[in-house]
Amino acid sequence: MRNKGGGNRTNFVLKSIKSNWILYVMLIPAIIWYLIFCYAPMGGVLLAFKNYQYNRGIFGSPWVGVQHFAQMFSDSDFWRAVINTLIFSFGKLIFHFPVPIIVAVLLNEMRSPGAKKVFQTILTFPHFISWVVLSGILIMIFSSNGIINQVFASLGISQVAPLMSLKSFRPFIWISQIWKEAGWDSIIYMAALTNIDPQLYEAADIDGAGRWQKMWYVTWPGIRNVVCIMLILQVGGIMGGACFDQIFNLYSAPVYAVADIIDTYVYRLSFMTGSNFGYTTAVGLFKSVIGVILITAANKIVVKSGEEGLF
C-alpha cells in the first residue's frame, strides 16, 4: 500500500512538473545560484577544524580538532561580538519589524491614490542608496561641522556626535535602518493587503465597523500569515540580522564595545589582525549553527500557534 501511495505521489509530482515545466525551467537559475554560492562553499566549513596553510589549501591543511572553537569561546572579543550581534538583531526585531507593517497599513488606508504613490516612492527610495554612500552622507550630516551641529550651535546647544557615543550608537543604527528600509520592507505587506477581499470591508461597513475595527478585524487577519512568515525569517536571521555594510561603514574604535558584531569581528581578524582562516571559519560556523537552531525554533512556535510555518 505504501509503495502504491508513493508511486501515486511520484506520478502526481511528475504530472505537475510536466504541466508547469516553464515555471520549473525558470527555477533552474535560482537553483544553480544556490548550488554555486550557498551549497558548494559549505565544503569550506571543514576549515573550522583545520589550521589553514596557504600551500596546502583547504583540504590539505592539517586537522586541529576543536582547537579554534576552544580559542573562540575563551576570547572576550568574540563574546562581545556575539552579544552585540544579538542586541542589534533583537533591537531590529523589536523596533524595525513592526514599522513596515504599520507603514503598509497606513498607506493602505490613504484615500488618495496619488498621495499613496508619492508617499510610497518617498519611503522606498532610500533603500536604493547603498550603505557605503549613505554612511558617508550620515557622517557628514552628523559631523562636528555638519548641518545638525550647525543648527545646534546656532541655538546654543552643545555639539552631538551620535556615532562616537556608546549610548547613542545603537539607536542611531536602528533608526537609520528603519529610515532606509521601512518603505521597501512594507512592499510585501502591501502585496498581502491587496489580496484581502474588498467584500470583507464592505461587509464590515454594513455591520457598522469603524476604521480601527476594520483594521483589527479585517486587515490584520488578512496579513497575519505573511507577518508570521516574515517573523520566522527574521528570527532565523538573528545572528546575521545586524547589517555588516551599515555597521562597518559607520563604526570606529571608540564604539567597538557596543558596535562590534560577529561579521566585523571576523573581518578585522581576517584582514587586519591576520588570524588563521580556520579560526574565522569557526566563528562563521558557530553563527550559522545558532541561526539554524533559531529558525527551527521560531518555525515550531509559529506552527504550534496555529499559523502556517515555513517547513
Binding site: 596557504y54 596546502r56 572576550s76 555639539q159 562616537m164 570606529s252 574604535a253 571608540p254 584582514f271 582562516f277
Partner: protein
Amino acid sequence: MKLKKMVAWSLAAVMVTSSFIGSSAEESNETTQEDPIEVSVAIWNAEDGLNDPEDPIYKKLVEKTGVKLVPQNITWDDAGQKIQLWATNGQLPDIFVGDYVGTSFFTNWVDQGVIRALPENLDEYPNLKEYLKMEKAQAVKKDGKFYMIPRQTYGDITYSVQDRNVVYRWDLAQKAGVTKEPETYDEFRDMIKKIIEADPENKNISGMTQALPKLIDGFIYPYGGILTQKWVEKDGQFMPSYFAGDMQAAMQLARDMYQEGTIEKDIALAKLDTSKEKFLQGQNAAMVFAGSGPSWLYHEIGKDYEQLYGRKFYDDIKIAKLYPCADGNKYYFVDTESWSETYISSAVDDEKMAAICKLFDYLYSEEGRRLMFCGIEGEDYDLVDGKPVMKEGVVLGDKYTFKNPSSSIASLAIWDPASWDMESPSANPQEYRDLDVQRHQDAVENGTLPKYYDEVKYLSTPKKDTFVYETSDDLLQIMMGTDPVDEMIEDLMQKYEKKGLSEMLEEVNAAAKDAGIEIE
C-alpha cells in the same frame, strides 16, 4: 550504450581542450628572447600609471629591462584585503608591495611558500646587491635569504619625523589674539581653544582633525615617550615601546584635549578627502597629516588654498614644532627608513625571477632612479656636474602617464627621494621644500630618539607573530571613554595580559638572546 556515449563525449572534450593547451604552449615556446617578459605587479593605483603603453618613460623602462609591467590593481583602500585574498587563492601577482614584515602574514607566507626568496647569488645584479645591504633587508633575512626588498622611504631614520606633521591655522590664531607660536603642548591646546572660541571666520570651527585614521597617534604617543613602531629596552628586557613608555601621560593628554574640544569630536571617522576639504574650508583649526613632510601639502591643499583665498598657504598655515613631552624630552614619531616592502610570488619561475632582478637592478641604478624621478635626460632634465637639473616648467606628473601622481608605479623600488634629499628634483616649490628641511632639522637638533632595536622588532616567534596590539584603537577608545584614564589603562593591560603579553615577551627575549642581540 548511454555510458559509452558519455565517455566518448568526455574524451573528445578533453582532447579538444588539450589541443588548445598544447598550441598555446607551443606559441609561448616560440617567444623570442627579445620579447619583453610580462610581470604582473600590484602597487597602489598601478593601472593609472600603466594605461599608456606608448608612454616615453615606460617605453624606456621596458627597453632597458626587457620587462613589461602588467597591473593587477590595488588601491590604498583595498590593498590589504586584495593581497590577502590573492595569497589565499593563489592569484598573487608576480610582484606586490605592502607592509607585512613583523606580522604573522610574512612568517606564514615564507613558511608556507607563498612568496619566493631572491636568488642567493646576486652578483649579476650589482645595484640590487648593494641596495640590499641596508639594515632592514639584512635584519629580515630568513635562513640567509631575502624574502622581500625594502622600499626606501628616507635616507635615515631622523627623516621619519616627516611622516607625521600637524598643521594649524596661524592666521586664525592671530585673529583670536594669539601672538606667539606655540612651543609646548599646553600652548598648542590654548591656541586651538582660542581659535574655536573666537571662530574668526564664523564657520563653527572645530579642533584638530586627522587626514587619515590612526595618524593622531603620531602627535599623542610621543608625549609619553612612546614610539609605537619600535621595540625598546626596559628593566633589562626588550618590549614594544608601547608598553614601555608613559601610557598614562599620553592617554591623559588625549582625553583632556578631546574633552576640551581641541581634538574634534568625530576624529575617529576621519577620511582623507573629507579632512582635507574641511581644513581647506576653514572648518578645523588644525590637522594631523602623513606624507613626506610639509611639502606634501602643496598638491594636496596648498595650491587650492592659494587659489581660494589668494594668500600664500604657508603665511597662514604653520607646522607644529616638536614640543617637550611629559618628561621634558622632545620625542617624535618614527617608523622605519622603508615602511613597506616588495614581495615576489612563489609562482614566479626562474626566468621571470631573473627578469624581476634585472628590473630592480635597473631601478636601483643611478640611471634608473633618474628615469623614475627626473624623466628623460635632455628633455626633462640635464646633467650638470653629474647632478640632474630639471628644465624650466617641466612637471613630470602632468607630462607622463607613468608619473601620474595618483599612481605609485614610478616608486616601485623606492619612494621619491625628493622629500628628504634636497638634491633630488621635485615638482614642489622650494619654499615648501624648505619646510621639509626645517622639520628635519628640528628633529635632529632638538628631538630625542631613544635607543630602539629593530633587530628585535623583526624577530619572528610564534607568540610574537600572533600577538596584536592596536595602539590606535586603544588611544581612541580611552580618549573618548568616560571612565577614568588610569582605570581604562589598567583594564587594557589586563586584556593584553590575558592575550599573553608576558609569555610573548618572555619568548621574544629568549629568542633575542639566542640570536645574540644584546642590550646596549
